[in-house]
């Protein structure tokens, strides 16, 4: 019996297995995530027909128990989490060598458990719990390198994340006080059918958006992100950028669409998105030295784009947002992973150290370029398809403000092009500097070519192939994204499915 519960239970169970196996711990995450990947692929056809609802806790019908909702949206994100999680964990086999590796793998699996839980749960407090699992494990993982920068940024992240979490908790408390229920469908039902218009409700929404916004990295709540992403190990940067902040965005979308259905509020969300986009991209252009920090700023920008697309509040907008979410997860984890070994090889995060790497690490440079092109939105890569769908959604909405926003999106794309092409030309067209400059770590390559180990290369090549495949044949993913978008729009259907009323 295929049950979505396993998607959460397996990584959770395996994560506690990792400390027991000292040496074999690094193989635990790939096994768990491979299982999740296969399971979620198998669940897709079933879920596309009818969402699966799993009741936990004594078999009481909702709203009196905790339930999991494997809707197309949930499964799409679970699939994405397990895919990226699986590939990153394979990469980590060779990459994570120093330090307390078994703790790393445990925390890594916990992080993914949290992320999967967030997208599958149907209960707001349960969502909060999974959120805390995700956040706490990511605080610890950011500090994994154990150096000064890592610890400092982890503490900063911890402080900001805790403020965010407490805000979420306040929001939940306010809702519970109003309705006496924690089931999301039930709350949504209460809000829309009892047409309560109390200021408490607005305040709760504000608390939710701020709280989730911290993890979802919207401006100005995202100050932890550049620090955390740049000082974490590259695998963790990839997961944070690819998965963790996406769960924040998912939570915002869930709260605004399903819980509150705040239609009038959406243009405001779009504005926040645009500001985030602009600030993120401009900061990335301003960041000329540290490549990981540049990628982190670019993640902020992309999150802004996704949030803007959610804020368009039409079916096409949500479709574009989810599509962009998928593509960004693939491309950005690819970029972080590719830059991980590059940084390791040249021994520096400085952009100028990357000069001439195209010759030494041809495959890594090639996939890095593919990822960068996809993020800029150049055809025939995946990013083009999602960007064009967002832009067409923005123009189709027939709203002057949104039209102006679309032009800002295009402007941000130019900035994106500037800083990504700056990296690409460093990789390919600049001659590499004095080899002594490039070699500060020991184990420095003596041969001309020093490609990454094969176990690290395979995951990023798979990511690159996926990006090209989606770019050329978008039908690979558009089917499930379409039904996910319909599912997110259809609040009545969601309530109906879970509560079984009407």
């Amino acid at each position: 019996m295929l049950s979505p519960v396993l998607l959460i239970a397996i990584p959770l169970g395996f994560s506690f297995l990792a400390p027991l196996l000292k040496k074999g711990a690094k193989y635990i995450p790939p096994i768990a995530m491979l299982f999740n990947l296969i399971l979620s692929i198998l669940l897709v056809p079933q879920v596309m027909r009818k969402p699966i609802i799993v009741l936990l806790g004594g078999g009481w019908p909702p709203p009196f128990c905790i339930n999991l909702v494997a809707s197309p949206l949930g499964i799409l994100l679970a699939l994405l989490i397990s895919l990226v999680g699986f590939l990153v964990s394979i990469y980590a086999i060779a990459y994570i060598k120093e330090g307390a590796t078994e703790k790393y793998h445990t925390l890594y699996l916990l992080l993914l458990t949290g992320a999967t839980g967030i997208v599958l749960t149907g209960d707001i407090f349960n969502l909060f719990v999974f959120f805390e699992i995700l956040c706490i494990s990511s605080y610890a993982l950011v500090a994994y390198n154990g150096d000064k920068h890592g610890l400092e940024s982890a503490v900063k992240y911890l402080i900001q994340g805790s403020i965010g979490s407490s805000f979420i908790l306040i929001g939940i408390a306010l809702l519970y006080g109003l309705f006496g229920t924690l089931n999301m469908a039930d709350i949504a039902n209460n809000i829309s059918y009892h047409s309560l218009q109390s200021p408490t409700l607005y305040v709760a929404l504000a608390f939710f958006i701020t709280g989730f916004g911290v993890e979802g990295a919207i401006f100005p709540l995202n100050a932890w992100l550049p620090d955390a992403h740049s000082s974490a190990p590259s695998t963790i940067s990839a997961i944070l950028s690819g998965i963790a902040i996406k769960t924040g965005v998912y939570a915002i979308a869930r709260v605004t669409y399903t819980l509150f259905s705040a239609k009038g509020f959406m243009i405001f969300i779009a504005t926040i998105g645009i500001i985030t986009l602009l600030i993120g991209e401009m900061s990335a252009l301003g960041q000329k030295k540290d490549i990981k920090r540049m990628l982190a700023y670019s993640s902020i920008g992309q999150i802004g784009l996704i949030i803007f697309a959610f804020g368009i509040a039409t079916y096409y907008g949500i479709f574009g947002a989810l599509f962009q979410l998928v593509n960004h997860a693939l491309a950005k984890s690819l970029l972080f992973l590719a830059s991980g070994y590059m940084i390791y090889r040249v021994g520096s995060k400085e952009l100028s150290a990357f000069e001439g790497l195209g010759k030494k690490m041809p495959l890594s440079s090639l996939v890095f370029t593919i990822g960068a092109f996809s993020l800029i939105g150049l055809p025939p890569f995946a990013g083009f398809m999602s960007k064009i769908s967002i832009i067409s959604a923005g123009i189709k909405a027939n709203n002057t403000a949104l039209f102006v926003f679309v032009i800002i999106v295009l402007f941000a794309t130019i900035i994106e092009g500037c800083y990504f092409f700056r990296v690409v030309q460093n990789l390919y067209f600049k001659k590499s500097r004095d080899p002594a400059h490039n070699c500060v770590r020991d184990g420095c390559p003596t041969t001309q070519k020093s490609e990454m180990p094969i176990s690290a290369l395979i995951p990023i090549i798979i990511l690159a192939l996926l990006i090209v495949a989606i770019g050329i044949y978008p039908r690979l993913v558009t089917g499930i994204i379409e039904s996910a978008a319909i599912g997110l729009m259809d609040k009545v259907g969601y309530i109906h499915q879970i509560l079984g009323i009407f």
């Binding site: 900063k156 402080i159 900001q160 403020i163 965010g164 805000f167 200021p199 607005y202 929404l205 504000a206 701020t210 916004g213 911290v214 100005p220 709540l221 100050a223 932890w224 550049p226 509020f265 405001f268 600030i279 401009m282 900061s283 252009l285 301003g286 960041q287 700023y297 599509f323 800029i376 150049l378 055809p379 025939p380 083009f384 398809m385 064009i388 769908s389 832009i391 067409s392 123009i395 189709k396 027939n398 679309v406 032009i407 295009l410 794309t413 130019i414 900035i415 092009g417 500037c418 092409f421 700056r422 030309q425 390919y428 067209f429 600049k430 978008p474 039908r475 558009t478 089917g479 379409e482």
Partner: protein, 616 residues
Amino acid sequence: MILITILLIAFGGAFVTYLAGKISGKLRNILAVLVSLALVVLISLIYRREISREYYTLPFLNLKLILMSNPLSWFFAIIIAGIGLLSILYSLEYMKDKERLDYYYFTLLFINASMLGTVISGDLLSFFIFWEIMSWSTYLLISYKGGKAIAAGLKYIIMSIIGSLAMLLVIISLYSRYGTMEISAIASYMQTASIGYTLFILITSSLSFVIINAFWPLHTWLPDAHAEAVSPFSSVLSAVLVRKGIYGLYLFMYVILGLNILNKLHVGFISFSSVLCGIGAVTIVFAAFTALVQEDSKRILAWSTVGQGGYMLLGIVFATASGMTGGMFHVLNHCIYIALLFFVAGAIEHRTGGIRNINELGGLIKRMPVTFIAALVGISGLIGIPLTNGFVSKWLIYKTLILGNHPFLAFAAFVGTWGTVLYGYKFIHNIFLGQLPEKYKHIKEAPLLMQLPMILLTVTVILFGVLPGIPLRVISAIQRQVALPPLQTTLFGIPKEAGELNMINVLFAILISCFIVWLLFRRAAKSVPVQQDDSYAAGSYVPKEKYHYTVNFYNPLSKMITPYLRDVASLFYLNIARGTQRVCNIIRRVYVGEVGYYAMYIVLFLAFLIFIQMFF
């Protein structure tokens, strides 16, 4: 089916060539030639065939992507394939000892494939997709050489992204309004669109075409990019890629909008066409004089590419039979002779070890006679001397300007040609005439494989100059396609009814006068061969070292014009770029690094949200 085959061969061939390069260099070279030859053959096969075929459906936008061929696309496709083949042939020898050749051939074939894609697209989305692929792959080859080419490439790609995003805005806006992207369907919808919307479409889309065709003031990427790219690719850039701008303008102005709508777009005496005319005229004059003061052989040619674009624009904005024909014919002619001239510059570079500064050269006529003939014919074509192809197209354009009562534009065109004469002569003189420097005493003629494309193009320049009827026939078909009056043509030119031009008469007149001159000289005293040094020094002592200096050619004129030639546009963009950088750096400081501020941000944001929700 044939169109899909063309695309598959073009793109697939590029990949196969790349892989073949991993096995052996020879196999790769043969494949590259075969692929580009196959494209020329296949495209010749679709001459005069109108095909339209769906090849893909984009799921989420619910769009059918279409390939089509018509006279306009055939005209450009054959140019792309032809120049592509010649540049590949030329590269075989030119690129022989360079590094990363697999990459080079792959990218060159890939660019050709994407350019073919843009012209045979039947809908705007595929047009845009191929256009974007063309943009980034071109970037990869412009920067190929490293060094100065890196900055040139970055400049190009940023301007090109700006242009293509403007185009994206247009096509998405058209799509959301009409629900289709098929060119013919949009053309019929646009007939009823409001003037404001039409202007928005026209101006925004023109932005990308003006950038790619390097019209003033958006020309700044071109001189650097063309000069710094490897020579075979410079000729592709100059001959074909840049002219995608003309293709795009033609597509939007005449295929999609049509003359009726264009005529409506005016406020008083300012109309869309008159603005374009002004841009064209400024481009011609500015570029001609800037080319005059250049010392770098490829930079001279690059600036001439900018300037000649202006003539094409002046031709096609006047929708008269002769103007349109002249403009389109000039596209073809310019493509032939500029490719030839870049091949010449490349051959010189190849033999002299990368010298591009023409002041260091001289006297190469003795060592490289074939290259000299090619350069002479190419420059003659560029100037527009009778019996070369450039004459016919320029003649048509001048005629349009004069008969249409545009004295200022005609004057600009003439001034441009005078400038062309000056820098054309400078190009030939400084490279081929004068004293041969000691170190070049023993250089050889360009290799045969490099001569072959040059000879072919030289012959074509003369052929189309004497028999302009061959290409003019294809161009008339384009005019018929967009329902504009075609120019009547004969094999030797234009019949009497349409304003006579008969090149065969011109040919005979010239031959006869040559014959008379020859007779006169035969009657005169017998000629005595004199050493060049003797005639130069009038019999006195000739120093062994360099005695013939060619620096500061046209010095008084250069001194006069240089102050006016400051590239204001370029400086302006540079300042914008710097300003943006600075602003970005300031923006980045939002992330101060103090966690106390960050906590404050969070709380302020919450307060702001609550405030917003309370009051709105």
